[in-house]
């Protein structure tokens, strides 16, 4: 059964953050700019939680004729995106200084609008538009502090992003030749029918792989994610990185027969990323850089799942929701871990153990401890992988997955250690505390909410 599209809410979801930068036109509106930050993704959150999916909204006058939609997979991504941007926005209210506030808010709003819009997009032109908006506006967040390090990271980010965009454009153009519509939903079948099936698939794997931190396309990520202001790092590594994953889910021929080799390749690359990132990550001193490597490592696991869904088309129906679930779980946990880097030790010593406990929660969740969303995600992953027949690497899978858990543990231990060294006593604004606590609560509550979603 499909619901009616709640048009006002949809429009507000995308337009509110898109038009929010207009507030920056006046120099006297700093207070308003700040206050609005956590509210920008509220319509999208309501849309994700309240609207009856699936719905489809036709906008034939927009771009090349647009279709926006929400299905269960998109809903999971929308929940993640909206939640994380809201809590990070709350955190940002108190975190940001007055300097360059307006510029930051402009890019924040534009990037958010792109990130939300691409989740809702159902056609190529809309998706590519929002994806580009997020990518280009995201540059402004990366280079925000203007240091040499940030500018270098920004340059690498932009060059890689442009190359990725070109790969996507070529892929979309090639697949459009075999398409009657421009609907994303028709792409997988069109790829299989196309003469350039392998080339198109490679272009999509690489184009979205840049965003998702696929090994060899990943090197911008540990540079760019940590240099951004902390709330921006959280959304970069928690939400925006997932746009690459969503791109894969929407465009790759998942569920089509004949893609065993590509699937195997993606699985292999996933494990390389998952394990290899740990080797680099444990050598880092900046806790945010350790986290960026951890993101590559975790995205590796999600790449394994995408690869598995391609290699075992019969299992795809089962695997895709698991991937979305994993993305939601990781996005929230990683967001919390990033936000924690900007905290301070409270003056009252009695509160410190509580702080460390809360700090540890999302980490434990990534490790898959009982009563965390990670437990559910890992169990679902193992279950889906073990029931898949004829999966490549089937023999080595348990061993590789254990190694990946070890890699995760090593990175988290390193992060904890570096955070221990970094955190000092002091004070931060209440909104920083509340943003972080709210994010942590969301991440922790996920375990109790998820079974309902499934």
């Amino acid at each position: 059964m499909s619901g009616l599209p709640p048009v006002t809410l949809i429009a507000a979801s995308v337009l509110l953050p898109l038009l929010y930068p207009l507030l920056a036109a006046r120099s006297g509106w700093h207070g308003l700019l700040r206050a609005a930050l956590p509210l920008l993704s509220m319509p999208a959150l309501l849309l994700a939680l309240l609207s009856v999916a699936p719905w489809t909204l036709e906008l034939p006058w927009l771009l090349l004729g647009s279709t926006w939609m929400l299905d269960e997979v998109r809903r999971t991504f929308l929940v993640l995106t909206a939640l994380l941007w809201s809590t990070a926005g709350l955190y940002a209210v108190g975190y940001l200084g007055a300097e360059r506030l307006r510029r930051f808010c402009v890019f924040w709003g534009l990037t958010l609008s792109g990130n939300l819009g691409l989740v809702l997009a159902g056609d190529i032109a809309s998706f590519y538009t929002f994806f580009a908006l997020m990518t280009f506006a995201g540059y402004g967040l990366v280079v925000h502090d203007g240091s040499d390090r940030a500018r270098f990271a920004g340059r690498v980010y932009l060059i890689m992003a442009l190359l990725g965009e070109m790969a996507l454009l070529a892929g979309f153009l090639l697949v459009a030749r075999a398409l009657d519509s421009l609907l994303l939903a028709d792409i997988p079948a069109a790829i299989t029918a196309s003469n350039e099936a392998a080339l198109i698939t490679a272009l999509f794997i690489a184009g979205f792989g840049v965003k998702a931190g696929l090994p060899l396309l990943h090197f911008w990520l540990p540079l760019a994610h940590p240099v951004a202001p902390t709330p921006a790092s959280a959304v970069l590594s928690g939400a925006m990185i997932k746009a690459g994953l969503l791109g894969w889910l929407l465009t790759l021929p998942i569920g089509e027969a004949g893609w065993e080799v590509a699937g195997q390749f993606l699985m292999l690359m996933g494990f390389v990323g998952s394990l290899g990132a740990a080797l680099f990550g444990v050598l880092q001193r900046d806790p945010k850089t350790v986290l960026a490597w951890s993101s590559i490592s975790q995205m590796g696991l999600m790449s394994v799942l995408v690869g598995a869904a391609m290699a075992a088309p019969g299992q795809a129906v089962l695997l895709v929701p698991v991937i979305a679930l994993f993305a939601l779980h990781h996005g929230l946990a990683k967001g919390c871990l990033f936000l924690a880097v900007g905290l301070v030790l409270p003056a009252k010593r009695i509160l410190r153990p509580l702080l460390w406990l809360l700090l540890a929660l999302p980490g434990l969740s990534l490790l898959g401890l009982p009563f965390t969303s990670g437990e559910l995600a890992k169990a679902a992953m193992k279950n889906a992988l073990s029931t898949a027949s004829n999966l490549p690497l089937a023999e080595q899978l348990p061993m590789l997955l254990q190694a990946a858990t070890l890699a995760t543990a090593a990175l988290l231990a390193r992060y904890g250690w570096m955070l221990w060294l970094k955190l000092e006593s002091g004070s931060v604004a209440p909104s920083v505390w509340s943003g972080w606590i709210l994010a942590t609560l969301c991440s922790a509550a996920l375990f109790w909410w998820l079974p309902g979603v499934r």
């Binding site: 036109a25 034939p60 006058w61 927009l62 771009l63 090349l64 004729g65 647009s66 510029r103 032109a125 590519y128 538009t129 580009a132 280009f136 402004g140 280079v143 203007g146 500018r151 932009l158 442009l162 190359l163 070109m166 454009l169 070529a170 153009l173 090639l174 459009a176 030749r177």
Partner: protein, 498 residues
Amino acid sequence: MSITALLPILALLTSLLAAVVIFALPENSHRLRTLVNLLAALFKLGIVAVMTWGVFRGVEFSVSFTMLPGVSFMLRADALAMLFAGLSAVLWFFTTIYAVGYLEDSPNRSRFFGFFSLCVASTMGIALAGNLFTFFLFYEMLTLSTYPLVVHRGTEKALQAGRNYIIYTLGGGVVLLLGIAWLHGLTGDLAFRETGHFQGSDPAMHGQLTLVFILLIAGLAVKAGMFPVHGWLPQAMVAPAPVSALLHAVAVVKAGAFGIVRVVYDIYGIDFAYLLGLLQPLAWLAAFTILYGSVRALSQIDLKRRLAFSTISQVSYIILGITLFGPIGTVGGLVHLLHQGIMKITLFFCAGNYAETLGVHRVDELDGAGPRMPATSVAFTVAALGMIGVPPLAGFITKWTMGAGALAAGMDWVVLVLLVSSLLNAAYFLPIVYRLWFCPIAGPWPAERRWGRLETNVWLFWPPLITMSMLVLVGLLAATALSPLSWAQLIAVRMYLS
């Protein structure tokens, strides 16, 4: 005389009369001149709007007189004519506003605006010309009326650029005339017709027709700024900013590109040109020019010079589009005729604003200009992103349509050219955007002027913002019936099906 014959003449006469009146006005009657300018521009906009509506509904606007035996003067409005006429009417209006502000205190404004109007009249004539002879007449009138604009400043550099401009364009004109005369000898007077004239023609004539085609294209390629006859264009950017805007976006380079469109589609016919094997070499040349212009733009420090090389590259998109055999490629090329105009005029308006307000002419002087001139810089940024082909802006619609056209025509290599060109565009535009917004101000501006509350003169403030909104809207609303894309599709349908 019926209304369908009257309207094309009126469209032409509006600017011609404006020119005469302005020449007659004394130098210091600033307000009256501005009024005449704007009224003429508005009036013409109205006429063009009515004609466009008529053409959409299938009305034939045409008028012709016999000049010499066998040679007639012919005005005719088809869908393609209205594409160019619409572009020039709309952009002329904003350029006029801009020019009024730009030349506020400079000498010889009467002369300037007189030739300015003549130049637009020529453009209108080129758009509405119904046959090659009429086209040529206005094509040469355009050359002569733009020369005084190029040398307007009267400096040594400007005169040098003007000399070069005249040599190139008159040279091109001679070659074009040769081609037209030869063709006339072969076939007589040829009106533009939507499927061309030579379908099923005598194979014995094919050799001569090929040579004539080469002459015609070579003559037109000069104004279109194609390699290797592009040399005048980067030099001509010494002209005042509104002239550059007109030269690069509306009149001169577009006249060349538009002429090539007319020759390929309406004289030879796309099927016949394809049959003769003439499209492929033209595609290669256009592709080379696209990459060449971009590569040269990379190393230009002068802002307007960088934009000029960018024009060389972007105009060849139009040529490349029409050589893609098939309706989708045609749409891509034609729609870029408009899109490039809107984007490039925005960029030149902005360049002019930086020059007039801050005294900035070089890319490396632009550090921190964004916060100082936010509206202009937003317009520049959006237009630059549009040039790169970032969705949902105008340039994306072009690239998408051309890419799809190339693939439909089996010319897959063109997609690679488009991608490389996009990357090169990014490489020479994004550093400017970066300087605008992310670099701190290096020191005092070379020559700063202030105008009250706005960041610049109000006449200079609005035109780039308006053209910027246009380049967003034509992309965002590409699927609506009134978009340039839909209009180009209408033209392509008529060209391939009628």
